[in-house]
Amino acid sequence: MKLFLKPDTAFLIKKILEEKLAVFNVKYNLINTNEILFLESIDTATYEKIAVVLNEYGFEIIENQKNIIVQKIKETIIEMIFNEEAPAVKSSVYLAEKLNHSYGYLSNLFSEVTYTSIENFIIIQKIEYVKKLITLHNLTLTEIAFKLNYSSVAHLSSQFKNTTGITPSAFQRIIKKRNEITNQNIN
């Protein structure tokens, strides 16, 4: 007797990927059977683990050198900002040294993959950090400007405004009111 199977490969792949990725507790979209879109940042360590796990089932990750480098750039920048250590050299030089590539190459690569320039990414990350300091640590703008090496509060303010479209104080106010509303709902 023969069994004739018509395997739903797409279904199988989907099942296996869902099962395996569940361990890592990450958000993702399966765009099709050969593409996974992660909806959050995946650090290089996790990325390597995922690669190992998927390898066991014969999934070979098409190594995308570009993606890896972009990921490294991002990690370097975030580390740089969150550690609050102002590098002695310009961030472009710092990145080039750290990643062993010319800054021009890195910059082009970054823009190609993320549709954003490295400079812009740095600013976004910096402002993000400012937001964190405002919401979590209740620091004043003067303190934040000093902490993050801004030349003046006005400079910080205008960069914040240029990036987000709102002033830092409006941001502060909005977050405060949001918290009030959620607190009310809890009570």
Binding site: K27, N29, I31, E35, I36, L37, F38, L39, E40, S41, N64, N67, K74, I78, T114, Y115, T116, F121, I124, Q125, E128, K131, K132, T135, T164, G165, I166, A170, F171, R173, I174, I175, K177, R178, I181
Partner: protein, 148 residues
């Protein structure tokens, strides 16, 4: 991670505005899937339909018949299954109070409809890009506030 597919839903009762919106995304070189609904009720029906794939970003006109953008915003924010959706208000109003109110109610982005098609493309591109940063760079979505 090569292809950045972003699902976008626009709720706007104005036909021309819907056209501008889809045209702008058509001309932008970003991989997006845009679907549009004509009012707030249609939007909520779409979102609550279990068959629907939830969008990444909802663009919400404030002034709509049947159910206003503000009401939609409140409903969406009240339901935890929509908590990953980024809400962008897309309105003619530039009243500071409107803007702050929508932010307070949980909107992430406020876009005053531009009066130039080029500008519209710019704005939408920036929104999607920044949103992409939030998705891919592990940023706190609660702090995602953008006014254009």
């Amino acid at each position: 991670m090569q292809k950045d597919f972003i699902l976008i839903t626009l709720a706007d009762d104005d036909e021309d505005d819907r056209m501008f919106f889809t045209d702008a995304f058509d001309e932008l070189k970003i991989n997006t899937v845009v679907n549009t609904v004509n009012d707030g009720v249609a939007l909520m029906n779409f979102l609550n339909d279990p068959e629907s794939i939830l969008p990444n970003i909802i663009f919400l006109d404030l002034n709509m018949p049947l159910k206003s953008g503000m009401e939609c915003l409140k409903e969406i924010k009240a339901d935890s299954k929509f908590k990953d959706i980024v809400i962008a208000i897309y309105s003619t109003s530039s009243s500071e109070e409107d803007i702050e109110n929508t932010f307070v109610l949980g909107a992430n982005i406020y876009i005053k409809k531009p009066n130039h098609f080029g500008k519209l493309k710019e704005v939408l591109s920036e929104v999607v890009t920044l949103n992409w940063q939030y998705i891919t760079s592990g940023l706190d979505k609660d702090n995602f506030l953008l006014r254009m």
